[in-house]
């Protein structure tokens, strides 16, 4: 079932991408890390987040025809963003692995 695996991966990349974009914002970074964050890291998180979301799109395109893939991606983005928002509001620590590279 390669299609199912592709879609699973697309979901993972889209959730991670939204997570990185959220952590690029001061208020959410502070929910996960006590230390201040350098501007360089913020840029890096934004790039990482954007690339991750684009990877998710590519995975969707590999799994389905283009029209279907765009719909799947659009809905994945919505669900991922909501998921990250709810994680941040209840257990922000869960997102710590996304910034394991920075103390």
């Amino acid at each position: 079932m390669p299609d199912a695996l592709l879609l699973m991966a697309a979901l993972v990349f889209s959730v991670a991408g939204m997570g990185w974009l959220a952590l690029a914002m001061d208020v959410h970074w502070n929910q996960v890390r006590a230390s201040r964050r350098s501007p360089r890291i913020a840029v890096m998180l934004r790039v990482l987040g954007s690339v991750s979301l684009l990877t998710s799109l590519v995975l969707c395109l590999l799994a389905d025809t283009a029209t279907m893939a765009v719909l799947v991606w659009m809905m994945l983005l919505a669900v991922s963003a909501a998921t990250i928002a709810f994680v941040l509001s209840s257990r922000p620590g869960v997102l710590a692995p996304l910034v394991v590279f920075s103390k």
Binding site: H28, V72, M75, A81, A82, I84, A85, S90
Partner: protein, 554 residues
């Protein structure tokens, strides 16, 4: 009139959102359920709990079933009698056959279109319909309600108000308001990116409600917009009947012109003719699809000018692998010769087919189906939190001034948020509790839904008196408990009356019924948690501590 652009948009958003939000709540909640309408049908009609079936043989099964439909449904005859200039004859002539199935349908819906002579509408028909088990062709009872596809689904676009199609118009108005609410919401929202991921449930109710409203509104913005828009586009022909009202001569000329190219006659020949093997035509269609790298089953079969020498048979693929709806292959009925194949669509038609197909979701893509279902609930949450915010923001001022405004909004909000869910679960409970052989079982089920909903309105109104003192109405908590109980009860009743408990359906992998049961338990679970939290909040919060904040953010 307003001090700023933003304030005028806030007014638009608040009042249009409030008045038509109640309708939108119905459209989005039942629309979400309609994503799984066929699965709800399986749950509600235990005798149809079998695997999905392909289109059966026309020659062996369908032909005789079509012939057994000898007259339109009584309500169709009644409606047609209002469209004619002379009284209807006793016997109407059948002229069209249609059969429709999808990869999720174990049963087959069939209809016969009867000519309506002397009608004020061109090419007018009245329809008779049956549902059959495609394995052997036996007709399923007519008075059992397919809850998903025949009750929840039409509810979401017509509210079941059939008088002059007014339900369609109310929903359309609400969809227009939704588009306006989306645009005005974006204009009002000052921190759309900065608060993109913001939800602070620990803050005061007013703040956390607005957070949730903004969050669900913004993250699913393309979904909200596209679904409201495509819903309008699907029924554009009803809202703007330009073709049949203003341009009828042009349309007829175009049809005549087109018929010359396609060989598909507009009018019956009047000479008798017999159909060649339709099974052979279906085989040709399947071969053609397979040769183009898109093998598939027949989704829709249509016979025009039944019994005439110029009868035609149109066959459409069950388009499981793409969003847009399918093109047809048309055969000469008496010979089985291919007359015409719908050409690839132009740009406008392609966009239309995409938006329509996206909304109707006949494709086979369970991930996308679930994502759209979740999208529908994000929309519903957005609308529901809008009501709660409206009440929270005003109830103290209204209580101080002795206004009843927020009380009535709260009562209606309870009715359209929790009350609607209670009524929905109650009809599922009744579906399992009523005797199987009860006459007019479908009417009993429908009545039980409306009655339950009416009761929730009464309950919400009675309990909303608390809002007059700026307290939370107990109706929210009590109806959440009602959801929890009726959801669990529906699952138990399903197990008791059919033996299909979760242990069996899950181990057999019969997902239509297992999925509905699991969703019912999820509803019950979430409602129970919500009820507990609301009770805790009500005991901890005293009215004095809940003050207004950020009043400028309407």
């Amino acid at each position: 009139m307003f001090a700023s652009f933003r304030l005028s948009f806030a007014w638009l958003h608040t009042w249009f959102g409030l008045v038509l939000g109640f309708v939108l709540m119905v459209a989005f909640f039942f629309g979400s359920l309609s994503v799984f309408d066929r699965e709800i049908d399986r749950w509600a009609l235990p005798q149809t709990r079998i695997e999905a079936q392909p289109m059966p043989s026309f020659d062996k099964i369908l032909a005789s079933r079509f012939a057994s439909i000898t007259e339109p449904e009584p309500e169709e005859i009644e409606a047609a009698s209002n469209r004619v200039t002379k009284p209807l004859p006793d016997k109407l002539t059948p002229s069209q056959y249609g059969a429709y199935t999808t990869h999720r349908d174990p049963v087959l819906g069939m209809y016969v279109g009867f000519d309506v002579p002397n009608s004020t509408l061109p090419d007018d028909h009245a329809y008779g319909e049956i549902t059959i088990d495609p394995r052997d062709g036996h007709v399923l009872p007519h008075d059992q309600l397919a809850l998903g596809s025949a009750f929840f689904y039409p509810m979401h676009f017509s509210l079941h108000i059939t008088w002059h199609d007014i339900g369609y118009w109310i929903v359309a108005l609400a969809a227009m308001a939704m588009l306006a609410a989306i645009v005005s919401g974006v204009v009002m929202h000052r921190k759309i990116f900065r608060e993109f991921f913001t939800f602070r449930p620990g803050k005061k109710l007013l703040r956390s409600t607005l957070d949730l409203h903004n969050l669900t509104g913004v993250v699913a913005l393309p979904f909200h917009f596209l679904w409201a828009l495509s819903g309008l586009i699907i029924f554009a022909g009803i809202y703007f009947p330009v073709l049949e009202k203003l341009m009828q001569p042009l349309v007829e000329a175009h049809e005549r012109e087109e018929a010359m190219h396609t060989g598909l006659d507009i009018l019956p020949s009047g000479k008798p003719g017999t159909l060649a093997s339709v099974d052979a035509m279906m085989a040709v269609a399947k071969e053609r699809w397979a040769s183009r790298g898109a093998p598939g089953e027949v989704g829709f079969l249509f016979v025009n000018h039944v019994g005439n020498s110029n009868a035609s048979v149109s066959i459409y693929r069950d388009s499981t692998d793409r969003v847009a709806t399918a093109e047809g292959l048309h055969f000469e009925g008496t010979t089985g010769r291919i007359l015409f194949e719908d050409p690839p669509t132009g740009p406008i038609e392609t966009v239309n087919a995409f938006l329509t197909g996206m909304h109707l979701q006949q494709f086979k893509h369970w991930t996308l189906r679930w994502l759209i279902f979740v999208g529908g609930f994000l929309s519903s949450t957005c609308i529901a939190t809008g009501f709660i915010f409206f009440v929270e923001k005003r109830k103290h001022a209204h209580a101080a001034q002795g206004y009843g405004g927020s009380r009535w909004v709260d009562a209606l909000a309870v009715t359209t948020v929790t009350g609607m869910v209670v009524a929905t679960l109650f009809v599922l409970v009744m579906n399992r509790a009523l005797p199987e052989d009860l006459a007019h079982r479908d009417s009993w089920e429908k009545s039980s839904f409306w009655l339950a909903w009416l009761l929730t309105l009464g309950h919400a109104t009675w309990r909303s008196a608390a809002v007059l003192q700026a307290r939370m109405s107990k109706a929210w908590v009590e109806q959440c408990w009602a959801i929890a109980l009726s959801g669990a009860l529906a699952v138990v009743l399903n197990a008791v009356t059919t033996g299909d408990h979760l242990g069996r359906t899950l181990s057999a992998g019969y997902w239509p019924v297992a999925g509905v049961d699991l969703m019912l338990l999820a509803f019950a679970f979430v409602a129970a948690i919500a009820a507990r939290r609301l009770q805790q909040r009500a005991t901890h919060a005293s009215p004095a501590s809940a003050s207004l904040e950020e009043p400028e953010r309407a």
